[in-house]
């Protein structure tokens, strides 16, 4: 049974077709990267799979349950793009604690189980010491890790991340890679939108490449042992958007 099974996904935003028949699956313990250039529909695919945007056509099931009947939200941890979240002066702890809501009853205080899960999530992303700092004081990498901790607080089986590396310096990117590698080892299924593979490359089991709302590749990203450097050439002068995925998407349009 797949954890995420989406077939024939069609989504229009403001009347514009954005996804035109996307198939996407994530299996148990699998790490899938959703790649593609800017505007290719990666975020929309994630949002459709999570039921955040309505679809015109297509089937989606999560953990074997059709999306419309799906209620086991505690099994999913969603990490939106960190630029989009406005937290005011809430602390890391408060943000992460809000990740427990799928488990909490109304009008009840946090249980010891809740508190343990929050502490574990903070430890997982190495933010225990900063737990009571306001989010507004954090660097981009710390904010991103806090959002991951919020998603982990529910103890999910699937974590879904939207461009977690965007805007981070290399040190933060490497820290984040360590975090995700630990999650992979812990057996979580991971669905991650990436603009470029970067340091995540070694842990990706499968890549799904989107171009203009269509899947143009679904499979392993490299054949082991076949990597050569024959055609190596430098790209110092390339614009920043020139990345693995963007390059592929551009080549594919020829």
């Amino acid at each position: 049974m797949g954890i995420v099974e989406a077939t024939g996904l069609e989504v229009s935003l403001d009347g514009t077709p954005v996804l035109r028949g996307v198939d996407l699956s994530v299996g148990e313990r699998e790490t899938v990267a959703l790649l593609g250039g800017n505007g290719s529909g990666k975020t929309t695919t994630l949002r459709a799979v999570l039921g955040l945007v309505p679809r015109q056509a297509g089937q989606i099931s999560l953990f074997g349950t059709p999306l419309d009947d799906f209620r086991a939200w505690a099994r999913i941890g969603y990490v939106p793009q960190h630029g989009a979240v406005q937290v005011g002066n809430a602390t890391i702890w408060e943000l992460v604690a809000s990740g427990r809501l799928p488990h909490r009853r109304l009008f009840r205080p946090l249980t010891p189980t809740d508190n343990t899960a929050i502490d574990d999530a903070l430890a997982m992303v190495a933010l225990t010491d900063l737990a009571h700092q306001p989010m507004a004081h954090l660097s981009g990498g710390q904010r991103q890790r806090a959002l991951i901790a919020r998603a982990l607080a529910t103890r999910p089986d699937l974590i879904v991340l939207d461009e977690p590396l965007a805007g981070l310096d290399t040190v933060s990117q490497d820290e984040l890679t360590d975090v995700l590698e630990r999650l992979k080892e812990a057996g979580l299924a991971i669905l991650v939108v990436l603009h470029e593979l970067g340091p995540f490359q070694p842990m990706i089991d499968r890549g799904v490449v989107l171009r203009q709302g269509v899947v143009i590749h679904d499979g392993p990203l490299q054949s082991a042992g076949e990597v050569t450097h024959e055609h190596a050439h430098h790209h110092d002068d390339q614009p920043a958007a020139h990345t693995w995925a963007a390059g592929l998407a551009r080549e594919a349009t020829r």
Binding site: L50, A90, T170, E230
Partner: protein
Amino acid sequence: MTLADLFSFGFMQRALIAALISGLLCPAVGAYIVQRRLSLLGDGLGHVAIAGVGLAMLTGTAPMPVAIVICLVGALAIELLRQRGHATADVGLAILFYGGISVGLLLAGLAGQGAGTLSQYLFGSLITVTTGDIGLIIGLAVVVLVVGIGLSPQLFSVCVDEDYARTQGLPVRLLNLMIVAMAAITVTLSMRTVGLLLVSALMVVPVAAAQNLAGSFRATIGIAMAIGVVVGGGGTLISAAADTPSGPTIVVSAIVLFALAAGISAIQRRRHPKVSDVVEPTIHHVVAEVTDHAGSAAPAVLHDDHVDYLFGGHRHAPHGDHYDEH
């Protein structure tokens, strides 16, 4: 006559109770409104309530209950429109502002009462709080506080990140409706003390002041409510002693506390700079490029056994350019 003498009158006691409750309630609800960046919503709702007051004058009924009903209806309508994306929040609020106040003035005029009578509801008038009002104020305040504080984890999640809250299985629409409903009730309950044109200030200013002092959302609500009670009570006393209109007195007191809080915060910031590691966004990352033998990369090359990866190509690019807007 001393202040103590003054407060031996029933109407002054009622005024003080009403002001203290407004001081407690407005920032508690305002914290969510501010977090959701809807600071002007309270103002718009105040204007809608004016229409309710006008209607009450025309029909000769008690203003507060009518205004509460009208304001609730207006608030829920606006929120439903927002949720369906029919009107932008901006245009919706503008219609609230001008429609509400115009209809209110129109109806008051039709009732033979000018802007003068209406103004006691616009800027607050201590002597007008009736016994019936006090019952309504206490009853509804309890409801709003129980919901606003009891459901604060859920409301917080919705205000911080609506999409995320949805992926938690929370009833986001219902919680959003509850927030605007609480705001509508709070605004209208405060019309006798702070006034409908100024009530929004009591929702926003104590929260803004508390944000300067508090290091967490929870502390922000707590400190804001404390500030609200202090300026509500203090403003009422000053207003009674100096014979000034209560609403402006309360709001000016709040702004004075805000200025103090901002000053304290500025001094603290100078002593303890922020903790975040200030790393220059200089990125050295690996660009892997895929081409097939012919040099034209088709998707099929990924299935090919001879995939060429280029590692290297270190770039130094500020990474602001990778953000997508949604």
